[in-house]
């Protein structure tokens, strides 16, 4: 009797009709609610593509390079919180995914990367287009599978989605040999897969949270330091309530941009290497630093031993391995941050928690905000900063901004205000140039009713310029605002500051005829012509008085659009805390 009742308590798996492995993969994706896949075919994955042609439930988007596909899938995930799915063939197709997988790993993005693999009988024999993709990606995946038996596909794919999205999210690779795709089987669809106890998300205890409230009650100069964990757990409403209830200023990381409204009175915007003066100073002078879903990255802390030197630090994170990794703290707490903040709010309400009197602290911060706002020197030419601010004004802050990597990425974060999560989409941990435009495509596909603008640099944009074809053919109205300074601006800035302005291969055009707003003849390449070749509407803008109108034209256009904004290369991103230095070394002007 006992055994029969045990069996009955488990939901029964469902057995489907016999089909090819490739069709099982597609059906499994449909069952996971996948509506879009970014997939580039090849010999070892064409069975899967054939299966994709047999479903109407998944939109297959052909990127023009596998790296574009994986960045698009990642941005789909970043914009929605749902896992992004991409696919490539074996060998070079798969290796082209590696940068995107590493990017998802660094920024904790749920991503499913499916790769075709050569027939099992060829594995290990240096067959055509064979690489050990399972082995190659081990250090940059949350988990991975090499599927050896067609019968395992339903369980593996279900498990992959659970792993990618649970706890601290991350990328999962599923490598499927061609014979497994071709083999026929009756799929057994598991009703559920369970994670082992050690992999289940943990929750802070009431004792731990009451301790935190006790610390807050005694604090004079508290700061909330919040990161991407708030966004991935969807804890932004709880954070807003908690900050208001405790009246504590909030400084985000770049990963956390948008998790707390930047126009809120308690916002310090974001801090770190190029973050706000007031954000950095507030963290530095804090006596209580409550870190939520962040990891004390070196771009946040500078010299870590001198980071927040006066503060008692609480570090709440779902990933126990982040505790005491970069910074040893007094109060490490392992918890899902949405649960912890929700419970903190409940406890505070139940105990009639009184926010501490921190008027002097708030006054001090207001002075810093007044005296050291984010700003730039007026210029007779359009500057990148002015372009970003203009975009902010024209979109009234209601757009998804995607970026490449470099100076423009920082300015996009500095001069646009983000009030909602998942609206600043950027490759932050890995810092992968070329992320911007394919990511804008992914975000636009995920959120077709939102204005999606890639604020990019000319160096970054060129790295995946081929994705203009994807946008055109797939009718994806992703906009590219290229801040074209003809240089690799961030490296140039470091050259100017630390290397006597020696240009170590940082000029993108002809070094003997460097293009600029004052030398339009030297501008290289001609992005308007490139875009025309792809059938994408484009325009170059040089004069300040034309910027606003040109940008409005870009925003109003109902297809993809490239706006080439010529800007001087002489601007530096400020403030700046040089690598390994401290707040005291911050360059403000």
């Amino acid at each position: 009797m006992k055994s029969s009742s045990t069996v009955a308590s488990f939901p029964k798996p469902e057995v489907g009709p016999e089909m090819k492995g490739a069709d099982i993969v597609v059906e499994a994706l449909v069952r996971e609610g996948v509506d879009t896949i970014f997939a580039y075919p090849g010999g070892a994955s064409m069975e899967l593509h054939q299966a994709l042609t047999r479903t109407t439930k998944i939109r297959t988007i052909l990127p023009r390079h596998e790296q574009g596909g994986v960045f698009a899938a990642e941005a789909y995930a970043r914009a929605t919180g749902r896992p992004g799915v991409c696919m490539a063939t074996s060998g070079p197709g798969a290796t082209n995914l590696v940068t995107g997988i590493a990017d998802a790993y660094m920024d904790s993005i749920p991503l499913i990367a499916i790769t075709g693999q050569v027939f099992q009988k060829f594995i290990g024999k240096a067959a055509f287009q064979e690489t050990d993709f399972y082995g190659m990606t081990l250090p940059v995946v949350k988990h991975s599978y090499l599927v050896l038996n067609v019968a395992d596909l339903p369980r593996i794919i279900k498990e992959a989605f659970v792993v990618a999205t649970s706890g601290r999210p991350g990328p999962v690779v599923i490598d499927i040999p061609k014979d497994v795709q071709q083999a026929k089987a009756q799929p057994v669809w598991p009703a559920a897969v369970e994670l082992r106890a050690s992999k289940q998300p943990r929750h802070a205890t009431d004792e731990q949270l009451k301790t935190v409230l006790g610390l807050i009650a005694k604090a004079k100069q508290p700061v909330l330091y919040v990161g991407g964990g708030i966004i991935s757990s969807g804890a932004h409403p709880e954070l807003l309530e908690f900050a208001e209830r405790t009246n504590i200023p909030v400084a985000t990381t770049l990963m956390g941009v948008g998790c707390f409204p930047e126009t809120h009175r308690l916002s310090l915007k974001w801090f770190g290497m190029h973050g706000t003066v007031y954000g950095n100073w507030a963290v530095h002078h804090s006596d209580l630093l409550i870190t939520l879903g962040a990891r004390f990255d070196d771009r946040i802390t500078g010299e870590v031993t001198k980071f927040a030197p006066h503060a008692t630090i609480v570090h709440l994170d779902i990933d126990a391995s982040e505790h005491n990794k970069n910074k040893v703290v007094q109060y490490p707490i392992v918890s899902d941050v949405k649960f912890a903040l929700g419970r903190l709010n409940e406890l505070a309400a139940a105990n009639k928690f009184q926010a501490p009197d921190c008027r002097a602290w708030h006054d001090k911060i207001s002075e810093w905000k007044r005296d050291y706002p984010l700003a730039w020197e007026p210029n007779k030419h359009i500057t990148a900063q002015e372009a970003v601010r203009t975009l902010y004004e024209l979109t009234q802050g209601d757009a998804i901004i995607v970026t490449g990597v470099g100076q423009h990425q920082m300015w996009a974060a500095q001069f646009y205000n983000y009030d909602k999560p998942r609206t600043y989409i950027s490759s932050l941990g890995l810092g992968a140039m070329g992320f911007g435009y394919p990511a804008a495509i992914g975000a636009k596909v995920a959120c077709p009713h939102k204005q999606v603008v890639d604020i990019d640099g000319d160096g970054s944009f060129l790295m995946n310029v081929q994705e203009l074809a994807t946008a055109k053919i797939e009718k994806i109205a992703a906009k590219a605002l290229v801040l074209n300074n003809q240089h690799l601006g961030m490296v140039v800035q470091w050259e100017d500051r630390f290397y006597g302005s020696v240009r170590g291969h940082t000029i993108l055009g002809d070094p003997n005829n460097i293009g600029s707003p004052d030398n339009l003849g030297g501008i290289y390449p001609d992005y308007v012509k490139i875009a025309e070749g792809f059938g994408v509407k484009a325009r170059r803008v040089v004069k300040r008085e034309e910027l606003r109108e040109a940008m409005q034209e870009m925003l109003d256009h109902d297809g993809p659009y490239l706006l080439d904004v010529i800007v001087p290369y002489t601007e530096h991103v400020l403030p700046m805390i040089p690598g390994g230095k401290t707040v005291a070394d911050m360059i403000i002007k």
Partner: protein, 156 residues
Amino acid sequence: MRHTISVLVENKFGVLARISGLFSGRGFNIDSLNVAPTHDSDLSRITVVVRGDDTVLDQINKQLLKLVNVIEVIDFKEGQAVERELVLAKIKADTRTRSEIIQIVDIFRAKIINVAPESVIVEITGDEGKINGFLSMVESFGVLELARTGKLAMRR
């Protein structure tokens, strides 16, 4: 400091690579490594002996536990576990030295498991002190080959 880390894992391909990768990615050399199935053939126990900075090893242990196929991680502190290793040593031996080697083998409660005209193979189990003591005693005869399991550990 030297750590003996015992990791209970699912018995699947790739698990060992994931675990060793966490060490090699940080430039840690593994002193010894032993992998074998447990009484439940779905599970394996991996015993790793590694030297390294305590805080970094603490990170590695936490990251080991994050791996999907890892069930349990125990970092044994000094004295918490019974530790043993099995060693096979082929020692140069002729009619003149064989009896002396046998004496040493007896003292260490080791076993001779193969005799050849010019060598003997000795099997010895024990903790590190015993194994090192034995090896230093037979060194002068000439150790021709050595194979060892690496340390195994079990909580007292």
